[in-house]
Symmetry: C2
Amino acid sequence: MSQTEEPVAVVALEISPRTKPSNYPEPFASRMAGREKRPLADFFGLSNFGVNLTRLIPGAGSALRHAHATQDEFLYILEGHPVLVTDQGETALAPGMCSGFKAGTGNGHQLVNRTNSNVLYLEIGDRSAGDSVSYPDDDLKAIFGSEGKWQFMHKDGTPY
Amino acid sequence: MSQTEEPVAVVALEISPRTKPSNYPEPFASRMAGREKRPLADFFGLSNFGVNLTRLIPGAGSALRHAHATQDEFLYILEGHPVLVTDQGETALAPGMCSGFKAGTGNGHQLVNRTNSNVLYLEIGDRSAGDSVSYPDDDLKAIFGSEGKWQFMHKDGTPY
């Protein structure tokens, strides 16, 4: 075993948060203030899916409301009481509740923390190729480019 | 929207557990008594990865110690204090701790509940094709067959 080997297991909250708060262009990136993501699965070198431990302070949201074309997504609430916004309206969540978002449905989802306490949850998504993301409430769409980066554009295709 | 639409979100512990406790052949299946898995992501129709909410009663184990060839795996402890067994030895876990197991390393892992209280955790694994599983401590290997089922055999290839 090498001297630099990673630990077998860690306290999730001790993994460093992402330093870049959002990939969105403005004015959307600023809306993500108050969201902090810890990339747990990346820490262990996993590449087939991501697991983030994400904290939302009061007033913060998980993302713009969005839907993936090829990547499934799943949420499990650990602490706090966010609202889940989808095409079905608003659903009140609580610790121990979960939700899943199958790729390709076009039904956008978003968590919003309207309480005075933090929300802590696990978000899981796979890395299926050819993904794109639609944003039903915003003039934005995203395509995962061949160079391995998200490309954001207006709904008419013009770049930000 | 159809009348039979699934709920947007659910209490994870209210999802029904799997009725078949293990796919292992005997004598290994009986060792999995005391393990109960709730397939959370399947409930929402996700197909790119699985998320199980798994409970281990005192004395139970998560699985035989095993390693996947192509599928990554990740664990997050919600309740209780299991021991994680790997090639590095034994690691004591606690709620809020996590571990990840990259595909292809051959380093087998297993959770064991040696306490007098239940253990509850989330286990996540993807569905990458061509997977096989090695079991360093047992005369067993598994290959995911072309017909979509796990095939179990002795290490020398003879069937169980």
